[in-house]
């Protein structure tokens, strides 16, 4: 099976699983907010994939139908094939699934309590900071690529303005990106 990447030692696979397990519980505001730490772990610290591969993993998941959390599986696959995808997906889904079921059964009535409100109020600014950090990390490989930096920044800007000022589905912007990129403009 040559499409696979060099097999990762079991210890590394377990490390990958453990790291995503931990990130699952930190993913307040969606899995995408933990993308910077995934990047730190698989790109900066271990060098299993490149920054460009990381960005394209997220792009692929956004372009395909389904929940955006699947980018986690794509990153896992790019690191270590099927076992990598299993490690990252299981790590991401297990803790949050267990916690969600617990809360939806026993905690739903306490939603308006002071503790829960303090929790959401306190973490909202962090969520926003993490989203900006994610966007920043995704843009960075383009900015470093001298030949294409301007086109890429314009495209990022068009996507931002389009999402904020129109009611068009994100699909159209993803399609525009594919077209502009396919033509070699960025």
């Amino acid at each position: 099976m040559s499409a696979f990447h060099p097999a990762l030692p079991v210890a590394d696979l377990l490390g990958l699983f453990g790291h995503f397990l931990m990130l699952s519980l930190l993913a307040v505001g969606g899995a995408i907010t933990t993308a910077p730490d995934m990047h730190r772990y698989v790109v900066a610290e271990h060098g299993w994939i490149t920054g460009a591969q990381f960005t394209s993993s997220i792009a692929l998941a956004q372009a395909a139908p389904g929940p955006n959390v699947l980018f986690v599986a794509v990153i896992g696959w790019n690191v270590a094939g099927p076992l990598g995808a299993l490690a990252t997906m299981a790590g991401t889904l297990l803790p949050s699934t267990a916690l969600t079921l617990f809360v939806s059964r026993w905690g739903a009535r306490r939603r308006e309590t002071r503790g829960v409100r303090a929790f959401t109020t306190g973490l909202t600014p962090l969520t926003i900071g993490l989203l900006v950090a994610t966007g920043w990390l995704l843009v960075r490989p383009y900015v470093r690529d001298q030949g294409h930096a301007v086109g890429a920044i314009v495209l990022v800007g068009v996507a931002i303005v389009g999402m904020l000022k129109t009611k068009l589905s994100p699909m159209w912007f993803v399609g525009l990106g594919a077209l502009v990129g396919g033509l070699g403009w960025i």
């Binding site: 499409a3 962090l126 294409h148």
Partner: protein, 191 residues
């Protein structure tokens, strides 16, 4: 109270299988995010939830760690059929899209040498970054009404960005340290 809330009896799925296929169907329509499709399918088309119930489940899902739509599927499935329903909804939402996205990943590994394919994905990557930044910008307006006060809330967001994106500190320190501090301040102000 609107008529929307007064309707106590909304239709419900006949079986966990129906739940599985309902979520399968809405996930496969969700290009660039499932949430808008989920609202249309679950509230407007199938009437399994009223609009109010949908927002309630969603806001609870947002407080919890994990992907919002995944939490939504789990909670809705659990409400109808317990654990079996939760797993049916989750499986329905993830199985087919997972196969598709992994097939694309493998295909991309083979096709990346073709300049058009590599270029297209580069373009989509820039758009993906833009979509995420747009979400962040849209949410920034909520900081103005934050109980922390707009300036303190903005400062927390900024410090989060700097520590995570620029200093590359591990997220757990940031969430436990900075998040803990923000929660503590919010706790005091809520009294």
């Amino acid at each position: 109270m609107s008529a929307d809330d007064a309707v106590a009896e909304t239709p419900r799925p006949a079986s966990a299988t129906e739940l599985f296929f309902a979520f399968n169907r809405l996930a496969l329509q969700g290009f660039g995010g499932v949430l808008p499709v989920a609202q249309r399918e679950l509230v407007e088309r199938r009437h399994w939830l009223t609009k109010t119930q949908f927002v309630e489940i969603l806001s609870l899902g947002q407080v919890l760690p994990g992907p919002n739509v995944v939490n939504l599927a789990l909670m809705l499935g659990d409400r109808f059929f317990g654990l079996r329903g939760a797993l049916a909804a989750l499986g329905g939402m993830l199985a087919a899209p997972l196969v598709i996205v992994l097939a694309l990943t493998v295909a991309y590994a083979e096709l990346a040498r073709i300049a058009i394919v590599a270029g297209a994905l580069r373009g989509m990557g820039a758009v993906a970054a833009g979509l995420i930044l747009a979400t962040a910008i849209r949410l920034m307006s909520t900081l103005r009404a934050s109980l922390l006060g707009p300036w303190l809330a903005a400062a927390f967001a900024l410090v989060t960005f700097v520590t995570v994106a620029l200093l590359r500190l591990p997220l757990i320190w940031v969430v436990v340290g900075l998040g803990g501090l923000a929660i503590a301040i919010a706790w005091r102000r809520l009294r």
